[in-house]
Symmetry: C2
Subunit: 196 residues, 2 copies
Amino acid sequence: MTKRSPAHGLPDEGSGRRRQILEIAAQLFARKGYRGTSMRDIGEQAGVLGGSLYHHIKSKEALFVELHDSALDAAEERVAVAVATQQDPWARLQAACTTLLDIQLAPDSLTMPMMNDFREVPGPVREQLVARRDRFENLFRGLVDALALPPNLDRSIYRNLLLSQLNTVADWYGPGRLSPADIAAQIVAIFRHDND
Amino acid sequence: MTKRSPAHGLPDEGSGRRRQILEIAAQLFARKGYRGTSMRDIGEQAGVLGGSLYHHIKSKEALFVELHDSALDAAEERVAVAVATQQDPWARLQAACTTLLDIQLAPDSLTMPMMNDFREVPGPVREQLVARRDRFENLFRGLVDALALPPNLDRSIYRNLLLSQLNTVADWYGPGRLSPADIAAQIVAIFRHDND
DNA sequence: CCTACCGATCGGTAGG
DNA sequence: CCTACCGATCGGTAGG
């Protein structure tokens, strides 16, 4: 019996209070970005003053890094599980895309949205975040390499295009006639090219 | 003989000084975002103090809106010209994509990059920018509607995916083995599906 | 967890 | 175009 993280990707260890603060912070970062979220904003939602948060966290930067890494850990596991249920390379890719969009488009999504534009985050921290994200994206390298693509498609470009496509859906998606799974299906339909 | 804007999309009327300041501001906004660029930063590059800029502009917000609108005006014209040289629907789309990527990936690009994440910009101004961008995107509605796509592809989703794909290339593209035109060709190759 | 505060930075202005 | 400044806001801390 392996330990399973909850959907939001925050470990459930530690004091409930800290955990609650992390959830609030994640939601605000996702909605308003790193610079657009002040410690006082987070405090307000938690019912305390901004300065009081420093009993639970070291700094705003460390808080963001922790949230970002937890989100990617959880996403990585969920995607890996979904991929493992399929054998066909295109089915495996579709499973990965559907899972990723489920995570990013969940209405209460605490996790990934907007953790992609790192220009707001101070330089030194940014490199840390980019390194973690690159590790995550390696998961897709294997999936793309297994595809039988037409030879005119460059696999490296193809992978970058697919990932940026997936990471950017939250910018324009509004819950309406199509579900996250529908969008994932459309993306895979577009990116699907069999080498015949 | 119609008046032609320069590639950077800033009208060449008015005092050269103001024009120079606009160019500097555009470059900084593109590199560091709206909130990441202070008026003092712009002043420093221009060789004056931040406060002195207000002789040439009304406010930071008005400055950004002016730059954004000029960039879209110029892009709109260049894309329209490129599209008009082709008759085949897929060739027209490819011409549009190539032109747009040329603009966004130009090494000194003052114009469009990063003028896409509007979360940094204050609410009231944001609506203005979004409205202008929507008008620009209508250009692509016509191009997509002219395609003979397989019926399982939703044209509205398809258009959103294509546009977000084009707008996001600057986030990961590094000048290397592939040119902007190469990337455009890869994107069109992926998005190309003939209804057979 | 609050009070009370720090040094820094922001957009913007008056007055010359 | 500068000097000198405004009110606001920021991340963070000391001391209780």
